[in-house]
């Protein structure tokens, strides 16, 4: 009996094929295309979040010891916001966009029609397991697709809660949640999808894209990188510090793709900055941050070991100027600041994704840009704290990243009119707001032609006269056209 149950619960390539087949039938039947279906599903997501807030907060606490406020805001409120924006604007997004036509195709009219791509796969991450699962799914639904969501197995409580809630609230024939780890994800990746939306790390992203290549499936990859924060000297230090803390330890204890990964500041300002951090950190998290309920824990022992290794490296361990305390049993690491770490250390080579904040020192603040650009990779976000207008301008024009924020951290995520995505190693594609709708749509160009004025110059037999007339038409100059016509009639 037990082995039969085991057989049933194995999700392999055959099971994945069945799922895709079912969703394709659902999509082909046109079920997901109507405005009514889309708004019903989005309203169901809203209801799902509203009616289950305590359960969601509890699951996030199980998986990440996430403070209730972070869960309520970053996971629940943001998802509700996404739904609300989509519900409000969807009718408008679904409307065809008129396109201009020129003399060359006269008489004609043109438009760009948004159509769903079909059956899409969303693979989400463990650090914001609700938001990073539902936000893309909201976009996929708004655009009229059938969706499979694969939540991260590293956040098992939220994964199973998502599976249960989705089955209860959403249209099961067109929206499915498939739980599992590597084998299940591989089985899904073998199938042909119309789009794959992946949030996670570079290594897996390569595997996802290579799998997508076999079927010519377009992908969106939301990755990460080492997001730098440059701190200039002539600023409101307290506000800057607090905003950096909010973006670092206030976001899942640094385990966020847009958390400031490291700081760059001048040698002369460093001590002031460190003192400010120490002061504000104590104000926020108390004298014993390992016990603070307002900090998430490290997600699992793998990541704990990884972060410990970063701290224990010889050339780095002596640079700790604050924190460094660890509790392996509880998977907690205190907010840790390191000063003047060597740029070739491990902690400066890989994305930290944790509560460690190295500070790199430069002589002049302008040198920060060289530090960032010399890393050879483009991060998901970059931050600058300054009141110097020229510095702001140089920052915007020389630093390439997914998105930039001046005098704050991470808030750009909440703004749905800004595209959120990476560039280079931090990913490809973007979403949020209308960008989510667009990323899950195909923008089909439509040209309507009339029968009047059939341009004889298009057709053979070809002649020099036709050539001249064509040239004039392409140049769009009336005079040229008249001249060519006159020449034509003369010959």
């Amino acid at each position: 009996m037990a082995s039969e149950e085991e057989k049933k619960s194995v999700f392999d390539a055959e099971s994945a094929k069945e799922v895709v087949k079912e969703l394709r039938a659902c999509f082909a039947a046109g079920n997901t295309k109507s405005y009514e279906w889309r708004s019903t599903q989005l309203n169901a997501v809203l209801k799902m979040m509203e009616e289950n807030e305590p359960l969601i907060v509890a699951a996030l606490r199980d998986d990440l010891s996430k403070p209730e406020l972070e869960s309520s805001i970053y996971e629940i409120a943001m998802v509700q916001n996404s739904c609300t924006v989509a519900l409000k604007k969807m009718k408008h997004w679904m409307m065809p966009e008129k396109a201009k036509t020129s003399l060359i195709t006269f008489p004609s009219s043109a438009e760009i029609v948004s159509e769903p791509l079909g059956v899409v796969l969303v693979i989400s991450a463990w650090n914001y397991p609700f938001m990073l699962s539902l936000d893309p799914v909201i976009g996929a639904i708004a655009a009229g697709n059938a969706v499979v969501l694969k939540p991260s197995e590293i956040a098992p409580a939220t994964s199973s809660l998502l599976a249960r809630l989705a089955a209860d609230y959403l249209d099961r024939s067109c929206i499915k949640v498939v739980e599992g780890a590597v084998p299940e994800t591989s089985a899904l990746l073998e199938q042909k999808w119309d789009k794959i939306f992946y949030t996670g790390n570079e290594r897996i992203a390569r595997i996802v894209m290579a799998a997508a290549a076999k079927h010519l499936t377009p992908v969106v990859l939301e990755l990460g990188g080492k997001c730098p924060a440059i701190v200039d000297s002539d600023i409101n230090l307290q506000v800057a510090t607090r905003r950096i803390i909010a973006g670092k330890w206030g976001c899942n204890n640094g385990q966020a793709c847009v958390s400031p990964d490291y700081i760059i500041t001048t040698k002369s300002y460093a001590q002031k900055l460190v003192d400010s951090f120490v002061c504000e950190l104590e104000r926020f998290y108390g004298k014993n941050p390992l016990e603070s309920k307002d900090l998430s824990r490290i997600v699992n022992s793998n990541h704990f070991a990884r972060l410990s290794k970063l701290l224990d490296e010889d050339k780095v361990s002596s640079k700790i100027v604050h924190g460094g305390e660890r509790d392996e049993a509880k998977l907690r690491i205190a907010p840790t600041i390191l000063l003047d770490v060597p740029q070739d250390s491990l902690i400066m080579t890989e994305e930290i994704f944790g509560p460690l904040l190295p500070i790199i020192l430069v002589h002049k603040v302008e040198e920060s840009f060289d530090v960032i650009n010399s890393s050879g990779t483009k991060p998901l976000a970059a931050y600058l704290f300054t009141n110097n207008k020229k510095l702001k301008e140089k920052f915007v024009s020389t630093v390439s990243a997914g998105g930039l924020v001046v005098n704050d951290t991470t808030v750009h995520l909440a703004e749905h009119t800004l595209p959120f995505g990476g560039v280079g190693d931090s990913g490809m594609g973007a979403y949020h707001g209308k960008f989510s709708f667009d990323t899950f749509s195909h923008k089909k160009a439509v040209l309507y032609r009339g029968f009047a004025c059939d341009a004889f110059v298009r057709y053979p037999p070809y002649s020099r006269g036709k050539l001249k007339l064509l040239q004039a038409l392409f140049n769009g100059s009336f005079l040229g056209i008249i001249r060519a016509l006159v020449g034509w009639f003369r010959s």
Partner: protein, 479 residues
């Protein structure tokens, strides 16, 4: 090769290509290149594909000139940052989205429109401020030589390079790291390109192909419209590179009862445009090489397919010419009805009722374009909503390629990504969002230690419930 690419990276790093004046200078030089070398380009296209000057101008020269001119006139607008709307909550803040070049890009072009498909993406890459390596197709050798020789003479050769060679060069290029790869070609090679790009997480645009159908409906009932319909179909099938085009009409769908009328009209038109038989053939390209020629000949080898030929069918192996050929209802499981034809053979498939054409099209992979000749508005709507393709053109064919305001690209097996006009600029750009914040005012509830008040505050803030926020802060609302 590695040295050239290192030089492209150095040039990009220097920031030279980011300046708008550099980009405009290159685009102007590009126009000079095309204007001053018209005859050489005509000659190269004739050598590679037997294209006549009118076809070459209409499909290649004219297109790239128009593209460059359009980009020059719009560039200032395109590079300007786009302002973003921000909610009151974030006041005072400023948001904008700034396009920036991706870096060093690789463009693979194809052999059938060796000038357009090389230079049109190049124009986009330059407008967006990138450095570029262009790899033209070796199957159009005269055009490739022309590009290798002419481009360094006119354009900034530390920023824009052309490399020759065959598949082996392509493979080596794919092992290196690029900031974008733009590929035009077949789905088979498209897969290889994307797989290679995955190793470096390089974004790609794939312009592929597919079997582009043309539905012919009630425009046949009116004699003058029927004539124009036939002209447009013939002009669009055999006009551009004798059917060797990704957006050429691959096959036609028509109701049984109208099939013979359509075929008669098509025959008359073919004879008028291109001559009555193989010997008199003119104003039409040839097949690019022996491989493609043999492939097309093989499509007609199947006896059932051969039996369905109702016009044409003759071939000249030495000249690599196949005359315009029409087939009526070849077997649906034959190769000619399952792979992209990319040549001068036009199968006509009859259906009892024209509505069946939609299911027929949907039974095949998404094509790059669907053409439909009809004046039935309901049917047009159905085609738009019940089929999926890169684009749709009603009552004409090929001409959508000329519209700079329409995105040109595929979906599903016909590819992803798009270009033409501003879409070219966008495809080679990264849209960077930038948010400027002030130090004041400060929202205390952002920071720990957490309390119920702070939770309520943020919830109301996220709902943009400003009234609720005010009440909360004034103490009139419980937290």
């Amino acid at each position: 090769m590695e040295k050239s690419i290192a030089e492209l990276r150095e040039t990009f790093k220097s920031g030279r290509t980011k300046s708008v004046s550099w980009r405009k200078k290159q685009l102007k030089a590009f126009l000079d290149l095309v204007n001053e070398n018209e005859d050489s380009i005509f000659k190269a296209l004739d050598q590679d594909l037997g294209k006549s000057p009118v076809e070459s101008y209409r499909d290649e020269l004219g297109i790239v000139k128009k593209s460059a001119t359009y980009s020059l006139s719009c560039l200032d607008k395109w590079v300007a940052p786009k302002k973003g709307d921000l909610p009151l909550l974030l006041f005072p803040s400023k948001a904008e989205v700034i396009p920036e070049p991706l870096g060093v890009v690789l463009i693979f072009s194809a052999w059938n429109f060796p000038i357009t498909l090389a230079l049109d993406p190049l124009i986009g890459a330059i407008s967006a401020g990138n450095t570029v390596l262009l790899k033209p197709s070796e199957l159009a050798p005269a055009c490739m030589s022309f590009l290798i020789q002419a481009i360094p003479q006119y354009l900034d050769n530390k920023a824009i390079k052309v490399i020759g060679g065959g598949a082996d060069v392509g493979e080596r290029l794919l092992e290196l790291r690029w900031d974008k790869i733009f590929f035009t070609g077949s789905p088979r090679v498209g897969r290889l390109v994307m797989t290679a790009a995955a190793k470096h997480l390089t974004p790609v645009t794939l312009e592929l192909g597919g079997k582009c159908p043309a539905i012919v409906h009630n425009t046949l009932s009116n004699p003058s419209k029927a004539k124009v319909t036939a002209k447009r179909i013939v002009g669009a099938k055999w006009g551009p590179c004798t059917g060797q085009a990704c957006i050429a009409i691959d096959y036609v769908l028509v109701e049984e009862k109208s099939a013979s009328t359509l075929i008669e009209l098509l025959k008359k038109c073919i004879q008028r445009f291109y001559g009555g038989n193989l010997k008199e053939l003119n104003s039409i390209s040839r097949i690019v090489n022996k491989n493609q020629f043999q492939r097309l000949v093989n499509l007609m080898k199947d006896p059932h397919v051969a039996a369905s030929v109702v016009y044409g069918g003759s071939v000249d192996e030495e000249q690599l010419v196949i005359e315009p050929t029409i087939l009526l209802d070849p077997p649906l499981d034959s190769e000619i009805m399952n792979e992209e034809i990319f040549g001068p053979l036009l199968p006509i498939i009859t259906v009892k009722n024209i509505e069946e054409s939609i299911e027929f099209i949907n039974s095949k992979p998404n094509p790059l374009v669907i053409y439909a000749f009809t004046e039935d508005e309901t049917f047009k709507k159905r085609i738009l909503s019940d089929t999926s393709s890169g684009s749709v053109t009603f009552n004409d064919a090929m001409i959508q390629f000329l519209c700079d305001s329409l995105p040109f690209g595929g979906v599903g097996q016909s590819g992803f990504g798009r270009y033409h006009g501003k879409y070219s600029f966008d495809t080679f750009s990264h849209e960077k969002s930038v948010l400027h914040r002030a130090f004041y005012p400060e929202l205390e509830p952002r920071y720990p230690p957490w309390t119920n008040f702070k939770l309520m505050f943020i919830k109301l803030a996220y709902g943009f419930d400003y009234l609720g926020l005010m009440l909360l802060m004034l103490g009139f609302r419980k937290s």
